[in-house]
């Protein structure tokens, strides 16, 4: 297996890590909560997609419904749970710890509910594209039509997000609310609504990531837990506050882990991600790509 093939093999999974990192960073920036429940939200959305797929037999309809389910679940989690926990947790210690524990609890609840509705066993998720490696001049490369679809979908989703963030007044409000909520409120913007929208956006990204990764990982109530760890690692590489950093971190992680899998073997992949996560948090907590010092929370 040559190096170029190994690198190529990591691109599409890296793009999915980017999506998860994007979702985690969006929520972190707007609410200062690390959303561990994102794995459950994404799985729930993917199950909704799978149910639609089974009922209607239409991949694209299922994809759209999964994204919508992600949006709704994301907004729901913010309005019903997060808002109150953040408001109630007034001391510094509880403000840091309470949301994290609550999100872990919520993840457990999501997984329990999914088990009740859809059962605990792994189920396959269909694709609309071939998963055979594409042949170029007679050589098959480890990159399928499906991988190309994943990559393009993520590129399109990220481009739309970048446009919304940089070119619209909603994006301006979201960025301002992330960095200076009080100034944003004093500018007449309903920051609580902006926060809900941030969670909704993140939920949609998670739903999309779920549908894109499920053909590879299959879907079970806890099948995206690892994905969350990889997404979180990607977000940390990018510095947690930078959406672009997180997206690049996801691609770098996907490609890097592909090299580890290719040369050391699959049993090292998971461990490498964890080691990387710990090392970055120890050495460069502001992220590899976060040039400036960590922002005040």
């Amino acid at each position: 297996m040559n190096l170029i093939n190994t690198l190529i093999a990591g691109v599409s999974i890296g793009a999915i890590y980017s999506l998860i990192a994007f979702a985690l960073i969006l929520v972190w920036r707007s609410t200062r909560v690390v959303n561990f429940a994102q794995a459950g939200q994404a799985a729930f959305s993917t199950y909704v997609g799978l149910s639609i797929e089974k009922a209607a037999g239409n991949y694209w309809l299922a994809l759209i419904c999964a994204i919508l389910a992600g949006v709704i679940v994301g907004a729901f989690v913010e309005v019903v749970v997060v808002r109150f926990i953040v408001k109630r947790a007034t001391s510094a210690a509880t403000a840091t710890v309470a949301p994290v524990i609550a999100m872990l609890g919520l993840l457990g609840i999501f997984q329990g509910v999914m088990g009740l509705i859809w059962g605990g066993e792994y189920q396959p998720y269909p694709t609309a594209f071939s998963r055979e490696g594409i042949s170029i001049a007679g050589n098959q490369i480890p990159f399928s039509q499906f991988d190309l679809f994943v990559l393009l979908t993520v590129v399109v989703a990220m481009s739309i997000s970048a446009l919304v963030f940089q070119r619209t007044s909603l994006g301006l409000s979201m960025r301002a609310a992330a960095f200076a909520p009080e100034v944003t409120r004093l500018s007449g913007i309903r920051v609580s609504r902006i926060r809900t929208l941030g969670w909704a956006f993140a939920g949609g990204a998670g739903g999309l990531a779920g549908v894109l990764v499920a053909p590879t990982t299959f879907i079970a109530p806890n099948s995206f837990d690892l994905l969350l760890v990889f997404g979180f690692t990607a977000a940390v590489i990018g510095g947690l506050d930078s959406l672009i950093g997180g997206v690049l971190g996801g691609l770098a992680l996907g490609i890097g882990l592909s090299v580890v899998t290719g040369y050391l073997g699959g049993s090292y992949t998971f461990m490498t991600a964890f080691v990387l996560l710990i090392v970055i948090l120890l050495v460069r907590p502001q992220g590899i790509l976060g040039a400036r010092g960590a922002r005040r929370a």
Partner: protein, 238 residues
């Protein structure tokens, strides 16, 4: 529109920040609230703009009771607060900071938001030169201009300004205060200015309110306060 504060009491936990304060801010005036650090000046503004809740008392904006409205609603009623500490969003550009002040009324009147931004550029030409720079590259004085400018883009009828002179060089303070006075004359806007720098504030104000340990001790013509040596010695320290 007149702002009327009636028997306003504000607490910080167990500490009383403002005790039964009553005063008026007449339409088209510059009213300066002065007093030492810790006199409760910022708390007063934060309560008027809805960031903090009063323990008791009323705040009336003509006939509208605003003491239970949300900050966003108070902005929509025409009262805009520029808080202490050159409050800009450092991660955004100068233009984006100004645009932020107009987002809430963008759908209603986009042309006027753009016009208001252009007026701020005219008022503070330094901001026009730096419109594409991030706010964290600005000097302290420029940041204060930007914070005021963001408030102005909302086209307030009442502008609440908290310590615009804080930490700025005297020359810059003078420039900002002169601009405020000129702006007030040309637009007829009402300004409620909170300042530790009593001399500069009273010079452009028509009315002065002296706060001491949460109490309104004097509410009088600004000139009268400036000319009252005993009072100045007692409360303003000069």
């Amino acid at each position: 529109m007149t702002l009327r504060v009636r028997g306003l009491t504000i607490d910080h936990g167990a500490i009383r920040a403002i005790a039964s304060a009553s005063f008026n801010v007449p339409k088209g005036s510059i009213t300066a609230v002065i007093g030492a650090n810790g006199a409760g000046k910022s708390t007063l503004l934060r309560t008027i703009s809805g960031l903090k809740r009063a323990t008791s008392g009323n705040i009336l904006w003509d006939e509208l009771a605003i003491d239970h409205l949300q900050t966003e609603q108070i902005v929509r009623a025409g009262i805009v607060h520029v808080p202490e500490g050159r409050s800009v969003v450092t991660e955004l550009t100068v233009f984006e900071n100004l645009a932020l002040g107009g987002v809430w009324r963008l759908r209603k009147n986009k042309a006027d938001v753009n016009e208001a931004i252009d007026e701020v550029y005219e008022l503070f030409p330094r901001l026009a030169e730096r419109r594409k720079q991030r706010a964290d590259t600005l000097s302290g004085g420029e940041r204060q201009m930007l914070a005021i400018g963001r408030g102005l883009v909302a086209r307030p009828q009442l502008l609440l300004l908290d310590e615009p002179s804080l930490g700025l060089a005297p020359l810059v303070v003078e420039q900002i205060f002169q601009t405020l006075a000129q702006l007030q004359r040309s637009s007829g806007m009402t300004i409620l200015l909170v300042e530790q720098n009593a001399m500069s504030a009273l010079r452009i104000a028509s009315q002065g309110i002296v706060l001491d340990q949460g109490q309104v001790v004097i509410a009088d013509d600004a000139r009268a306060i400036m000319n009252d040596t005993a009072l100045r010695h007692a409360y303003l320290g000069y």
